[in-house]
Amino acid sequence: MRKEDTVKLISAEGFEFVVDKEAAMVSQTIHNMLTSPGSFAERQHGEVTFPEISTTILEKICQYFYWHLQFASGKETEFPIEPELTLELMMAANYLHT
């Protein structure tokens, strides 16, 4: 895999998740950050920091991105969400337009 094809998502606690750009762009917010001309520093570095998203939630979101790609390619499985994560996950999903 080439570095240019990936993006690094960084959580509030400084944990890093390296994912395919294609997967991250399931999020409209990240899509905009990575494609809008010039304005976002994120675009040059291929890194996006989310100071308000905890590591557990960010990992869940990355898993969702890949689940979304799998589902889009015809694999029908459920996406498991632990009840204690629901609220924070919904807030993050709202922010990320996911």
Partner: protein, 103 residues
Amino acid sequence: MDMYIRVKRSKTTYFIRCKPTDKILDIKLKLQELVDQPANNQRLIIPATGEVLEDSRTLADQKVENDAVVALTLRKDDNEFEEVNIVRPNDFYQARDADGANW
């Protein structure tokens, strides 16, 4: 896309797309550029059992499934491989579990 695995080292997680028929060496080649280390300086380990995954065998052979967590260790200067090191976040919901144990 068939499956993905989560390769973890320290505070970093690499999401790697792969197929059950991919050999471990294929995974290491995918990681090569991301971790700045050639395949022969990488070792992949199942964290739960400590089992070292073999280059020539496939993911399916070694029961590595979709969404599995695999630990990455790198060769150190003295030619030995480092120990498995995966840092977990100590965030709200694990903290709450810990409290629960004290009640």
